[in-house]
Symmetry: C2
């Protein structure tokens, strides 16, 4: 079972990386750009047929390693 | 108008970063894990009300800066 996990900085956390991307896009001539925020993305394959068990496992991975819950939020979505 | 952009490595491109994440998850006791692939994620706000124009602008950002189309694919999704 395959999942897509997106990890984003919480709303009030500064995102210098996104700022640089945004500034660079403006420098190369992109107009109308308001904001860019950068996050992380993982595609995770789990060998588990029970959908709710599989989601629990992906959640565990997020909480234990992939996400710093002090400054980041995460979303898990079933792929495909 | 807000968009979510995910950038992933093409299927046949090796992903050492994902491999390390996968191995680390196994080392801390996660079971049933088949594969992790890591990508990039951007939230992009565009000051443009016409939806198809806005998508074109985001596509231009991807092609000009955010995505290396030799080894990466990208998906644009309207947020919210």
């Amino acid at each position: 079972m395959k999942f897509e996990v997106t990890v984003t900085l919480k709303k009030d956390v500064l995102d210098p990386q996104g700022k640089v991307v945004s500034q660079t896009l403006k420098n190369i001539g992109i107009k109308n750009l308001t904001q860019v925020r950068q996050g992380k993305y993982f595609e995770i394959d789990v060998d588990e047929k029970d959908s709710s068990k599989a989601i629990d496992q992906v959640k565990e991975m997020c909480e234990k390693l992939l996400v710093n819950q002090i400054i980041e939020d995460f979303k898990i979505k079933k792929a495909g």
